[in-house]
């Protein structure tokens, strides 16, 4: 009896002790956990809609329960279409480019900012770069339009026509758009990312640099052997998070900036815009849920795979 008495409650007692010692941390965790539960976990119940022919009945929850099960039929609409390949390709390629540029350019800028001796100026630059992040894509789309419109666009009117060349019909020429879209994406997010990396660089102990300087290391060597290696964990985390969303394109960018011009779909259409357009006017809740679920599942798999690879290379740097 004594033996069972000791063995059984032990894990429980251990847990209780753990709770008691960490009570402050748990209390801090609770509000976040609560929000996560309400916003992210409870709505997950809605995933079943993807497998149902949604028909309204009394209220939302009853409708979900009483709707007819139709298996994977809701998923068909996406995979059956001729454009499925094109939009998937666009989504992944654009996101890959964005991930790479989202590391390279902001890191370079962050390092440059850090080297500025005038801290006031450095803060000023940072704020200026941060500004586009707060503009909505709608605003950006009109900004782009004021540049690219045929009749009144700045580029056609003040540059191309001034050089005596024929106006370019930007919104009908797919070949320019991979660059235009990339440009606006980088323009909008670089500031934000640069701030993150700049914060990480500021956290690096200045003794490293002093020691390196005494040993005669050049600025480039300091960057290469101190800054970048110490930035690596942050870079990996940011990249992993971005990889998780590789199947979710930035809807605002791809929908608003090309002005929904059909001629450009071959290079501007991504999964999100495609699904939106197919479902906008048909009110098919089931198909919308199916495509959302598909993106989430694939995104989840990619993030686990990427993390697995990182862990294989360097256990300490993996996210989990």
């Amino acid at each position: 009896m004594n033996a069972t008495d000791l063995s059984k409650p032990r894990p429980f007692r251990k847990l209780l002790k753990g709770v008691r010692t960490n009570i402050a941390f748990i209390a801090m965790l609770l509000p976040g956990l609560f929000v996560l539960l309400i916003n992210n976990y409870i709505p997950m119940f809605g995933v079943v809609i993807a497998f149902k022919r949604y028909r309204f009945n009394k209220d939302f929850f009853t409708s979900i329960i009483t709707s007819e099960w139709i298996g994977f039929k809701n998923f068909e609409f996406f995979f059956k279409t001729p454009q499925a390949y094109e939009v998937t390709r666009n989504t992944i390629l654009y996101n890959l480019v964005f991930i790479v540029l989202g590391v390279v350019i902001p890191v370079m800028l962050a390092i440059a900012l850090n080297e500025l001796l005038n801290k006031k100026l450095s803060n000023f630059y940072q704020s200026i770069m941060f500004l586009p992040y707060f503009l909505s894509w709608i605003v950006v789309s009109y900004l782009a339009y004021s540049m690219l419109s045929i009749e009144n666009g700045f580029i056609n009117r003040s540059i191309i026509n001034a050089l005596g060349l024929e106006s370019i019909n930007w919104y009908s020429e797919p070949r320019y758009w991979p660059f235009i879209l990339t440009f606006f994406q980088v323009w909008k997010y670089t500031g934000y990312n640069a701030v993150v990396y700049h914060a990480a660089i500021s956290g690096i102990d200045s003794e490293y640099y002093e020691a390196a300087a005494i040993d005669g290391a050049t600025k480039w060597q300091q960057t290469k052997f101190i800054t970048i290696p110490l930035l690596q964990p942050v870079i990996i985390i940011m990249t992993l998070l971005a990889v998780g969303r590789i199947f979710n394109a930035d809807f605002g960018l791809f929908f608003n900036v090309p002005k929904d011009s059909g001629a450009l779909y071959s290079v501007t259409d991504v999964i999100d815009t495609y699904v939106f357009r197919a479902l906008r006017n048909s009110n098919s809740v089931g198909m919308a849920a199916a495509s959302g679920l598909y993106q989430a599942v694939v995104g989840c798999i990619t993030v686990f795979t990427a993390n697995f690879i990182v862990r294989k290379i360097d256990r300490d740097k993996a996210l989990f």
């Binding site: 916003n39 985390i237 059909g262 001629a263 048909s282 009110n283």
Partner: protein, 508 residues
């Protein structure tokens, strides 16, 4: 150092998670319906006798048309007026036209929000799809001995019914349609356009040319999205405008064709390409997305519109521009009209009985109807005589478009409108040729996948063809190929089967 790195990365992860939580709330919203809606089959309060409900309830009424700054004033006036009639607090709002209205209303319906009255049509808030999905209260029992039956007429009520059930009430307006041009009056006078000689679009070409040369800043022809000369072909579409499948508008046969690939359509594409190259269509046409706003700028000479008597005068109200009306196609009565403007009661409504009484009043109560069309007397308009009004300079409420709800025949007339407008309407209604397909409702359940795909293909190509912004032959070739891959043949075959069965059933 290691520790600091760790805590830093932890902080970063937290930030990321927070951003995700804040921005990632795209998941289905919680249902708003607090009490289960009264079931549709429940019989309405049988007596029409107006017993005023003791407690004031809120009545939401969502409609198409541009949002108006003074909407709140109109709602307050309606609430005040209805105090001893229905005792409701009216909460009305306009959400723009089809393309902006539909995506706002559909989620409200799907999540069962307690909205009482919504506008719906074949071009806004998908009347047929949503009625089939059970989002609207079956109004058949309500309509049984409602004065609306007499006002609207059985032909329209039956034409808009789905399998014999009325899920929405059609508005009483013109019952036929034809297509034509509205020409800007000052330019018609300046260039001496002989309107009586214009029988087809080509007759306008010399004027397009003259205006292009003589009026810098004016584009001869407005062509935005689907609102353009393609409409003049007047396809009797089986489903939405962006889904292949249509009948010729002259009852020549009962074969459903892909309207985007007919010789008539191809000739139109070529014509548009020619116009675009000549600069008769705005160079930025492919990116314009707001037809009514473009029309209001007054920078266009000709605009394609669906016609009816007094259309030009009616459009003066919402555009503030004088127009001259030129009819091109012959009037027909098709499913476009019977389901062209309806009011429905969503299943989430908490008081459908009161909502229906409100709808009824839009047919019978002259004051209430005109309040929502013209605004408040003395503020937005003033009376010239019993039935004629003049707009004031106050543009706070210019909703107009009296055909959107209720009985348009009880609307006041504007000073510039013909006093026999409503008699002309009746004559016009008699002129229309009823289409063979009148009353046929296509059920898309079996080909939902294909239709989803086809919508995207059409969206991808139609602008280049309709607006002439790209080479016709190569675009058309790619368009046809993609439609084929998306299953256009299956969709048209399904339409044909259903249509033939329906014809057999009704004996046509």
């Amino acid at each position: 150092m290691k520790k600091m790195q760790r805590s830093l990365s932890f902080a970063l992860v937290l930030i990321m998670m927070l951003t995700m939580i804040i921005t990632g709330c795209g998941a289905p919203a919680e249902p708003a319906a607090s009490s289960p809606a009264q079931s549709a089959s429940q019989a309405p309060a049988s007596s029409q006798a107006a017993e005023v409900p003791k407690e004031q309830v809120e009545l939401t009424f969502y409609c198409v048309a541009d949002s108006q700054p003074d909407m709140q004033k109109i709602c307050d006036a309606a609430t005040e007026y209805l105090k001893d009639k229905l005792n409701v607090k009216v909460k009305a709002e306009n959400f723009g036209w089809g393309d902006t209205y539909t995506p706002k209303i559909n989620p409200m319906l799907a999540s069962g929000q307690p909205v009482d009255i919504v506008f719906t049509a074949n071009w806004a808030a998908n009347y047929r799809v949503n009625a089939n999905a059970g989002y609207f209260v079956d109004l058949t029992p309500y309509l049984k001995d409602s004065p609306i039956r007499e006002i609207v007429g059985d032909d329209f009520l039956n034409g808009s019914a789905i399998n014999g059930k009325n899920f929405a009430v059609p508005c009483n307006k013109e019952k036929v349609h034809n297509w034509g041009f509205l020409l800007k009056k000052d330019l018609v006078e300046k260039y001496n356009v002989d309107v009586s000689k214009i029988k087809k679009m080509e007759d306008l070409e010399p004027y397009f040319d003259a205006i292009k040369k003589g009026e810098p800043g004016v584009t001869p022809l407005l062509n935005v999205q689907m609102e353009g000369p393609f409409k003049l072909l007047d396809w009797d579409n089986i489903s939405d405008d962006d889904i292949p499948g249509a009948l010729y508008p002259d009852n020549r046969d009962n074969t459903i064709v892909n309207q985007f690939e007919t010789p008539e359509a191809i000739a139109m594409y070529k014509k548009m390409r020619e116009y675009y190259n000549k600069g008769w269509i705005h160079p930025d046409a492919a990116t314009q997305d707001n037809f009514s706003e473009e029309m209001k700028t007054g920078k266009y000479f000709a605009v394609v519109q669906s016609m009816k008597p007094g259309k030009a005068e009616e459009m003066k109200l919402s555009t503030n521009i004088d127009w001259v009306q030129v009819d091109i196609t012959t009037p027909v009565m098709s499913n476009r009209e019977t389901t062209g403007a309806l009011l429905a009661i969503p299943i989430g409504s908490e008081h459908p009985d009161i909502a229906f009484k409100f709808i009824e009043m839009l047919y019978t109560d002259k004051f209430l109807k005109n309040l929502f069309v013209y605004g408040i007397e003395g503020e937005h308009y003033e009376k010239v005589s019993e039935n004629v009004v003049r707009l004031t300079d106050n543009t706070g409420y210019r909703a107009g478009n009296g055909w959107r709800f209720g009985d348009q025949f009880i609307d006041y007339l504007l000073e510039n409108e013909d006093p026999d407008k409503w008699e002309q309407f009746k004559a016009y209604n008699d002129m229309g040729i009823p289409m063979n397909s009148l009353g046929f409702a296509f059920d898309a359940t079996n080909v939902e996948t294909e239709i989803g795909a086809l919508k995207n293909v059409v969206q991808k190509y139609y602008k280049q063809l309709f607006l002439g912004t790209a080479d016709t032959d190569s675009t058309l070739k790619a368009f046809s190929e993609e439609m084929k891959k998306a299953g256009v043949d299956d969709v048209i075959a399904e339409m044909q089967t259903q249509y033939d069965e329906w014809r057999k059933a009704v004996g046509k």
